[in-house]
């Protein structure tokens, strides 16, 4: 029944869904198929998830499987670890990824390490979901993506969908995976009532279940001159920049989709073709995703590289006021400019 994806861009479907609907559809499917799957988090039951991540699920599955929990992230994320070690398949939501600091030990020292520390005799088949991202002026403690923070620490697979199609396929894969998966959905892409999404993330989504394997980046646009490597919200900003530049520069846009595992091959293939690498993300600039991508290419194919640029959040906490938030979160113009710089025309 389940199909493995051939090529995301070939997929067509009659209906388009928002990213949140696609994600919820995958969760509902897995919950119907497997009694051991359940969802726990703050405001996931009656509220349906602050970011619509569980919309409608309480009605079908009831409170035992769509479970509100106290504001005790260490206790309930750790409870998910414990339940997963018993063979259940919990999905546990950290409402904003920014809150990781109150529960990071359970995440990185238990969830991510118990498999290894037990020599593989124990495994932790859970999904940790978390909302990421800014662009709506929620300031320094509610706007981060923290991609690099999670991807740096071993033992967790890290998934960041950018479209409804990807969100569903990656969620199916995440729930079926026997390892801990951190599934980071960008608030701006979800299609939440109170936070309008751009058009890009709403895509055709097959009704059947399908999985997108981890470690397979997706070339969201082909191009010959410059490679943009990006993920999440910035896939859409990169596509916009590519469209703006189309008359002058032929830009390829690579959507990583997962940070761990990282699909270095797709990146290297693209850079081998274009020679120009621009890495774009919404996380802090230093010691993070942009550095890793550039270094991976420099290590493996230094000779292919004619120019590198990175576009990321400068190393500042995210400011509240609109002019400053706009300044620090990379915009389409910033990407356009970086592509031009990479091509040597300033």
């Amino acid at each position: 029944m389940a199909q493995q994806e051939d090529n995301a861009s070939d997929q067509q479907a009659d209906r388009s869904l928002t990213m949140s609907r696609a994600m919820v559809e995958a969760i509902a499917h897995e919950m119907r198929a497997n009694d051991e799957v359940f969802y726990m988090g703050e405001d996931v039951a009656d509220y349906g998830g602050i970011f619509d991540s569980t919309q409608g699920l309480l009605e079908e599955f009831g409170r035992d499987r769509i479970m509100d929990v106290p504001i005790s992230e260490t206790a309930y994320l750790g409870a998910a670890v414990g339940a997963a070690q018993e063979g259940m398949r919990p999905i546990a939501e950290l409402m904003f990824v920014d809150f990781f600091g109150v529960a990071m030990d359970q995440i990185y020292n238990q969830m991510a390490k118990n498999t290894y520390m037990s020599g593989g005799s124990v495994n932790v088949p859970m999904v940790l979901t978390a909302a990421v991202g800014g662009t709506y002026n929620d300031a320094a403690q509610h706007s981060q993506t923290l991609y690099g923070t999670f991807a740096h620490l071993p033992g967790m697979k890290v998934v960041v969908p950018s479209t409804a199609y990807d969100a569903k396929g990656l969620m199916h894969n995440a729930i079926r995976d026997d390892d801990p998966v951190v599934y980071m959905f960008h608030k701006r892409l979800m299609g939440i009532g109170w936070l309008p999404a751009p058009d890009g993330p709403k895509t055709g989504v097959p009704e059947d279940d399908y999985t997108i394997p981890f470690g397979s980046a997706d070339v969201k646009r082909e191009g010959a001159d410059v490679t943009i490597v990006t993920l999440g919200l910035h896939v859409h900003r990169a596509l916009e920049a590519a469209a703006d530049l189309a008359d002058d520069i032929d830009v390829e846009v690579v959507d990583l989709r997962t940070l761990v595992p990282l699909d270095t091959e797709t990146i290297l293939d693209s850079v081998a073709k274009t020679g120009h690498l621009v890495v774009v993300d919404e996380d802090y600039r230093s010691y993070g995703v942009t550095g890793e991508i550039i270094a991976s290419v420099a290590e493996a194919a230094l000779d292919d590289l004619e120019a590198v640029e990175r576009v990321a959040l400068p190393d500042v906490p995210i400011p509240y006021a609109r002019p400053m938030e706009d300044e620090v979160i990379p915009g389409t113009d910033d990407i356009t400019e970086a592509v031009r710089t990479a091509r040597g025309d300033e």
């Binding site: 703050e42 405001d43 039951a45 009656d46 509220y47 602050i50 509100d68 929990v69 106290p70 504001i71 005790s72 260490t74 206790a75 920014d98 809150f99 600091g101 109150v102 662009t135 709506y136 002026n137 929620d138 300031a139 320094a140 403690q141 509610h142 009532g193 109170w194 936070l195 309008p196 600039r285 230093s286 640029e309 990175r310 576009v311 990321a312 400068p314 190393d315 500042v316 906490p317 400011p319 509240y320 006021a321 609109r322 002019p323 400053m324 938030e325 706009d326 300044e327 620090v328 990379p330 915009g331 389409t332 113009d333 910033d334 400019e337 970086a338 710089t341 300033e346």
Partner: protein, 346 residues
């Protein structure tokens, strides 16, 4: 017994807070209708209004001096007003203006006014440890300042709060923890997240003084806080004070509150601590004219603050690069804007 002038002060603070938030609400909704878009309008981002919590802020802060420290959570306005935070600069901050308390970097969840030692954090219960630290500083320096941490009843399940109770208790620090119990943590009613009806019971496990004020009544809060703050100031150690309040609105602006029974909403409207205090004032012989005066003074102050704030310039986008450090590293500044990565969208 409370002196009449103190009743009047509390009343004025409470009315100011209520009127202030009514005006903020109007301003906030501008540009967000008919379709709600949290990122639009003159005040973007989340906004948590405290209508129905006023008695807690006013009753406790009535005992505080400028050199006493207060930390508040995501719902801070009524406490800030009662603590004497500069209303104009606070408003400018909420509007994201250059002359805001933080120059527009913080927004409504991150109000800092060092003149009256007021600070906020948007992370549940994480204001508690810094309040303990302020108490520790007072003890180390041998002053009689005290520190007060405000939090919601949903925060009493969080490690940061619970650890803080113990640390304050074992070190005998001049700290008061004030739990504002509005029965709800977003969509989760108290009984779904803890087995203890009276949150002050948490104190028992740590050997510190606990008390609860069962009615949403400024005078009762005042009395209980006199005891708690007095103990702290006199070197008799910390207290935990839970205060019944009511959430008259959604958790944040835009919350549809579909999870909340109508009777509960109605009840919150009916138990108005401001009307109650007004009755107390009258019972104490305060006449209509004086009450009208207090109300119109509040009104004028609010209008003045809002008008002033809206007149203030927006911050410069490049201000975003300032204030990461007060001793910026000389020479090497990672957070400096570079052409490519931070060219700005505007």
């Amino acid at each position: 017994m409370v002196a009449v002038n103190e009743l009047q002060e509390m009343y004025e603070n409470m009315v100011t807070a209520r009127q202030y938030e009514e005006r903020l609400q109007e301003e906030y909704l501008e540009g967000k209708q008919p379709a709600f878009d949290i990122s639009a309008g003159p005040i973007p981002g989340e906004l948590h209004l405290a209508a129905g919590h006023e008695a807690a802020g006013a009753g406790v802060c009535q005992h505080l001096r400028d050199d006493d420290t207060v930390t508040a959570p995501h719902r801070p306005h009524h406490v800030a007003i009662a603590k004497g935070v500069d209303l104009k600069r606070m408003t400018a901050e909420i509007f994201g203006r250059e002359s805001g308390l933080s120059g527009g970097k913080g927004g409504h969840m991150h109000l800092f006014d060092p003149n009256v030692k007021f600070a906020c954090s948007g992370i549940i219960a994480e204001g508690c440890p810094p309040a303990v630290g302020a108490g520790l500083a007072a003890k180390q320096r041998n002053t009689d300042s005290v520190a007060v941490a405000f939090l919601g009843e949903g925060a009493i399940d969080q490690g940061a709060f619970l650890e803080s109770l113990n640390l304050a208790s074992v070190q005998d620090l001049p700290v008061v923890f004030v739990v504002e119990d509005n029965d709800w943590a977003i969509s989760m009613p108290k009984e779904r997240v803890t087995d203890v009806e009276n949150g002050a019971q948490r104190a028992d496990g740590f050997g510190l003084h606990g008390a609860r004020v069962d009615a949403d009544d400024a005078v009762a809060v005042y009395d209980a806080a006199r005891d708690a703050v007095g103990r702290a100031r006199d070197g008799n150690g910390p207290s935990l004070l839970e205060v019944q309040v009511h959430r008259r609105m959604g958790h944040f602006m835009g919350d549809p509150e579909a999870y909340r029974p109508d009777e509960d909403k109605d009840a919150a409207q009916q138990r108005d601590s401001i009307e109650r205090l007004e009755a107390d004032l009258r019972a104490n012989g305060v006449d209509d004219e004086t009450i009208d005066d207090l109300r119109s003074r509040a009104h004028d102050r609010v209008e003045e603050a809002i008008e002033w704030a809206k007149d203030q310039p927006e911050p410069d986008p490049d201000d975003a690069y300032e204030d990461v450090f007060v001793n910026p590293p000389s020479g090497v500044t990672d957070s400096e804007p570079s052409t490519a990565d931070t060219g700005g969208d505007d």
